[in-house]
Structure formats: structure tokens, C-alpha cells
């Protein structure tokens, strides 16, 4: 995942990367593993420093580069959403849908893009429009969740 130049560039732009090794840093792995409930490797967490180290997104297990990259973008969306920055959150989520529409994370991103727009505008039609857009992901769990908005 990390040998992909696009992934590496995205990480360099948005994150301070920290690696804790299960065998080479046993004490640190125990300390941080308990704090963040990490019981398996790889576990990759997006930690919000502005919110006292709150975890905003978790990625557990290996993913191919594009799926990993979309998880990182999705995580930034969730981070912005949690901070009440709904326009930024929608931008992140739409980026996943528009630029990586075949990635596994795309249906989840579409769902949260609709929620972000609704939270930003208070306009319930954003949810209805999102539910209709799930025609391209009809079998996803997120389509089922959005179906109540129709």
C-alpha cells in the first residue's frame, strides 16, 4: 500500500505518519494498542490531534492501493464531518464517489455526502437525491440505509 507514489503523496500532504511495530516496539504497541483497541495488524487509524487524539477512522487489514487511498479520503471526510465542517466533508466524500467510483468505499462515501449536504443546508431533498443516486450501487448496504429517504 505504502509503496504506491499516489498513496505516499497523499499521506505526506495530509498526515503525520506514525508506525508502531508489534514486535520491535512491544512496550509502545502495548501502550497504544490498549489506548486505541488495536488487536490486529495492520490496523491504521486516523487520529484527530485537534480533538485530543480522538480516532476518526479505522482501516483494518491490507487493501490494494486505490482502495486504501479511498479509505484515507473517506477518513478525512469523517474527520471533517465530526468537526462540523460539513461542506468540506461533502467535498471529500464526493471526491471518493467521483474519482474512485468503483472502489469499495464509494457507496459509503455517497451516503455520507448526502448526509453532509443535508447537515450543511437543512434541505431534506439532499437525502432524497442521494437515495436516487444509489441506482449505481443497488446491492450495497448503504443503498438499503438510504432507501428510507425516498
Amino acid at each position: 500500500m505504502y509503496s504506491n507514489p499516489q498513496v505516499a503523496s497523499f499521506i505526506k500532504t495530509h498526515f503525520v505518519p506514525v508506525r508502531v511495530h508489534v514486535k520491535d516496539q512491544k512496550d509502545e504497541f502495548k501502550r497504544l494498542g490498549e489506548r486505541f483497541s488495536a488487536q490486529w495488524t495492520p490496523s491504521i487509524l486516523i487520529v484527530d490531534a485537534a480533538a485530543d487524539g480522538t480516532v476518526r477512522h479505522r482501516i483494518e487489514g491490507f487493501l490494494p492501493p486505490e482502495d486504501f487511498l479511498t479509505q484515507l479520503i473517506l477518513g478525512l471526510g469523517h474527520t471533517a464531518f465530526a468537526a462540523g465542517q460539513f461542506a468540506t466533508a461533502e467535498e471529500r466524500f464526493r471526491d471518493v464517489v467521483d474519482q474512485h467510483g468503483f472502489a469499495d468505499a464509494a457507496p459509503e462515501a455517497l451516503y455520507w455526502a448526502g448526509v453532509s449536504r443535508y447537515k450543511a443546508t437543512g434541505d431534506a431533498s439532499a437525502l432524497k437525491e442521494t437515495a436516487k443516486a444509489f441506482g449505481k450501487y443497488p446491492d450495497s448496504t448503504w443503498a438499503k440505509k438510504a432507501s428510507v429517504w425516498m
Binding site: 503525520v16 505518519p17 490486529w40 490496523s43 487520529v47
Partner: protein, 38 residues
């Protein structure tokens, strides 16, 4: 001649210091619990 490749990501192993750095730069910490060779 070295065949080693330069890592693309400059990983830190100092979580607390990195959290402070992220706080100051407006970035987020990407914390990777790993078993991969270092």
C-alpha cells in the same frame, strides 16, 4: 552500488510528539500498527 530504495514515507515512531506536531500543523496523525518488516 546500493540497491536499497528510499522509503516513500518518513514514518515516526514517536506518537506523542507526532500528535503535537499534527496539532500545530493542522494535519492528522496516521497511526499504523504494523507487523511488516521495518
Amino acid at each position: 552500488m546500493s540497491t536499497a530504495t528510499e522509503p516513500l514515507i518518513a514514518w515516526s515512531n514517536n506518537f506523542d510528539g507526532s500528535l503535537e506536531k499534527a496539532r500545530n500543523t493542522g494535519q492528522y496523525v496516521l497511526l499504523d500498527f504494523s507487523a511488516a518488516p521495518m
